[in-house]
């Protein structure tokens, strides 16, 4: 029995050292060298400051920015998750109706229209960085108006940031909201600079 015990104990220790410490630390080392940007969270910088991760949703408010999806965790990256509300729940119906009513109050033109599914449903992670192209083009109208930009310019911006499904088949076409809004900020900065020079 003690011989078995010793063997089981040694197996436990050896595999713990190899797989619990060696393997993760080796991968950290290799990937910090090979893919430093991705290995450190795909951080986006603007004006020299870290303004977020391109993979993590952050809150945008006001008509001058594109908005991401509703989040069950208020975009708190320290506590990811979905709403976990069931498909027949009255609470789900109330949440959807309230989100729709808020949108309609700001944009009466949407009355009577069906909305893209991602626009008023909350995501699985609560940190979904993407919206669908249909959602982005719908928002482009009021973003352009609020910014005083030609609609065509904003639509071009969306098109530039649109990512196709992998191999044109797998997954969903999408636009990452942070990159899109940073692109918007760059256009605005350029326009301001052009006015100053003139």
């Amino acid at each position: 029995m003690s011989r078995i015990f010793g063997a089981a104990l040694r197996l436990t220790v050896v595999s713990w050292v190899v797989f619990g410490l060696g393997y993760p630390l080796l991968e950290v080392g290799v990937n910090q060298l090979a893919f430093p940007a991705a290995a450190n969270g795909s951080l986006a910088r603007f004006g020299g400051r870290v303004v977020g991760s391109r993979l993590i949703e952050q809150r945008f408010t006001g008509a001058g920015w594109f908005h991401g999806r509703p989040s069950a965790v208020h975009m708190n990256a320290r506590s990811s998750g979905g709403s976990n509300i069931g498909p027949s729940s009255a609470l789900l119906a109330r949440h959807l109706a309230a989100r729709r009513a808020r949108l309609l109050a700001r944009h009466p033109g949407l009355a009577g229209r069906r909305l893209p599914a991602d626009m008023i449903t909350s995501s699985g992670s609560g940190l979904d960085p993407d919206i669908t192209p249909a959602n982005a083009y719908l928002q482009a109208r009021w973003v352009a108006r609020a910014r005083g930009l030609p609609l065509a310019a904003v639509r071009r911006l969306v098109a530039r940031h649109e990512r196709r499904p992998w191999l044109g088949l797998f997954g969903q076409a999408r636009v990452d909201v942070l990159s899109l809004n940073l692109g918007l900020a760059r256009i605005m900065a350029k326009a301001r600079y052009a006015r100053m020079v003139r």
Partner: protein, 582 residues
């Protein structure tokens, strides 16, 4: 179903199938001690590990009792190690966010859950565990628990193979364990982790980054060694996430490509084990029948789940949400799903994850349509749609012994399986192995629904609340780990009851299976005669399938009627008449 959804399902299945055949041949070679391509690199590694464990222990042949005892003892020690690390987390290194020690109930539940390949999580990773715990108490058992299930299956295959040395031919636990770890898990993990990092999964020892947001304010973004955990989480059909949102979290699963890689990683080993089984027992035709039966259940589940989620619900239609896929949007039920995966990649992932009992999710099952969620529930109830590492195919073989026995009685043939007579002892052990499953699901689920400390955890009411509890115990018993996560499991009652169900679901059935293996191994082979019932035919495959479905349906149908099926009808009765957009 759109052509896009159809082809995503079909192509992923074809790729998984294409990988599983050569991989299965490789597994059979590894466990029959034949030469493989990795030997020159890995033989010295294995020899070093054998020397550390003790050469004499590694060389002895084991009967089923020896194999089971060593397996249990090793698992116990590893479980204690995990419990200790979690309980002492606050005093251990790499704790950049200064998380406190994990409490005893939660530490017990987590240790039980990860040592058994279940990976049920009553905590949110990013808000509970230090980076050290994530590596040393989570990533570590992801390797060893998968290896445990794997070697038990291998031992059972040997028992069904040609008899040697009066039943002492199940192999050596330590040797099998080490060979699985190095030859099956470590090598793919080393090479696939960088692909996930390239896609965007972090791999760092920085615990958190603080961002100064575009519109002002701060966002604290936790990260850590995520990518390496993701690979073994799926390759080992483990399923526990680094983050609370599991594979829905963009850091765990950043792109459609990473989603496909994780899906394939879940599928290949359990599928390949069937191929390896055929070679190890010398009957590839039987393996093809098994592969066909399990494969057709999987195909049906995938198409039903994707179609149900794409169809959406009347509640969503009534809320004014586009329900049909169209230009630049996917329609369907996007509650709890991520845009980059859309409907199809979400439903494929969760369905595969519950078929292969991984338990990771890239979309929240609690918010699936009643039918979409039921597909996952049913697969865990059957627990043999390929199933997890090793135990899935063993469950399927238990059903197979049943089928042989019943068919033998019906047509008056001697019940034999692979040249071994199936007698009373075998049927009793197979029944026990299969009956543990419904017993530890239905009894505690019913109990939870009748006591205040059980009901108070429900996140939803009505039939969906019942589904949440039923799902929790089914997931624990099947060692799956996915959840209808609205249920708050982090209470003393659920931590302890789910922890115990997890342990019984794992070790009780494994011990019955090994005992059955020991009993079969000791039997002299019988010559095949005209009176033998052939098991490697399509006809018997159909009977095998019927046995699984009939036994599963008789056991679980009442629960399904009260949960998802009732919800389905209530949903359509209540909202079906409304429709239109307000």
């Amino acid at each position: 179903m759109s052509p896009g959804a159809f082809w995503q399902i079909v192509l992923e299945l074809l790729v998984a199938g294409a990988i599983s055949v050569p991989f299965g041949h490789y597994l059979a070679r590894v466990f029959q001690d034949q030469k493989t391509i990795l030997d020159p690199v890995l033989d010295p590694v294995d020899r070093l590990i054998y020397r550390l464990i003790g050469r004499d222990v590694v060389d002895q042949a084991m009967d089923w009792k020896g194999y089971a005892a060593n397996m249990l003892l090793t698992n116990l020690l590893m479980g204690l190690l995990i419990y200790t690390i979690l309980s002492w987390q606050g005093h251990l290194p790499w704790n950049p966010l200064h998380f406190p020690d994990v409490g005893p109930f939660l530490a017990f539940n987590t240790a039980a859950s990860f040592i058994t390949n279940t990976n049920w999580q009553n905590y949110g990773g990013e808000s509970t565990l230090s980076l050290f715990s994530q590596m040393a108490a989570i990533t570590f058992p992801m390797f060893t628990s998968a290896a445990t299930g794997f070697v038990v299956a291998i031992a059972f295959f040997r028992a069904l193979g040609p008899a040697r040395d009066k039943g002492r031919n199940l192999g050596n636990f330590y040797r099998d364990f080490v060979r699985v770890l190095t030859r099956v898990f470590l090598v793919p993990c080393l090479f696939i982790t960088p692909i996930l990092v390239w896609q965007g999964s972090p791999e760092t020892l920085t615990g958190m980054v603080t961002a100064h947001l575009v519109q002002g304010g701060l966002q604290h973004i936790p990260m850590g060694p995520v990518a390496d955990l993701e690979v073994i989480k799926h390759l080992g059909t483990n399923g526990g996430g680094f983050f609370n949102a599991n594979s829905a979290h963009p850091f765990e699963n950043p792109t459609p490509l990473s989603n496909i890689i994780e899906t394939l990683l879940m599928m290949v080993t359990p599928m390949a084990l069937v191929v390896a089984f055929g070679r190890m027992v010398g009957n590839p035709k039987l393996a093809r029948v098994m592969y066909g039966v399990m494969g057709s259940m999987l195909v049906a589940a995938l198409f039903i789940a994707v179609a149900a989620e794409q169809r959406g619900t009347p509640l969503l239609a009534h809320a004014g949400i586009m329900q049909h896929a169209g230009a630049g949007q996917m329609g369907g039920n996007m509650v709890g799903k991520e845009v980059r995966f859309g409907i199809t990649q979400s439903a494929i992932f969760d369905t595969v994850s519950t078929a292969f009992t991984t338990g990771s999710v890239n979309s929240m099952l609690d918010s699936y349509t009643p039918i979409g969620g039921m597909v996952s529930l049913v697969q865990m109830m059957l627990n043999c749609v390929f199933g997890g590492k090793g135990v899935g195919i063993l469950n399927f073989l238990m059903y197979g012994l049943f089928a042989v026995f019943i068919a033998g009685l019906m047509v008056g043939r001697t019940p034999e399986f692979l040249g071994k007579k199936i007698e009373k002892r075998e049927i009793v052990l197979a029944s026990l192995a299969l009956l543990v499953h419904p017993l530890i699901i239905l009894v505690p689920a019913a109990w939870s629904l009748t006591v205040p400390y059980g009901v108070s955890s429900l996140g939803n009411t009505g039939p969906h609340g019942l589904s949440e509890v039923l799902y929790a115990f089914t997931s624990a018993a099947a060692n799956n780990g996915s959840a209808f996560a609205g249920l708050n499991g982090n209470t003393p009652w659920y931590n302890v009851s789910l922890g115990l169900v997890i342990l019984f679901g794992r070790y009780a059935s494994i011990i019955f299976m090994l005992a059955l293996g020991g009993s079969l191994a000791a039997k002299p082979p019988v010559q095949e005669t005209v009176g033998t019932l052939k098991t490697d035919t399509v006809l018997f495959g159909g009977f095998w399938f019927a046995t699984v479905v009939v036994v599963g349906a008789l056991t679980f149908f009442p629960g399904l009627v009260l949960g998802p099926i009732a919800e389905f009808f209530a949903l359509y009765a209540h909202h079906g008449a409304l429709g239109g957009v307000r």
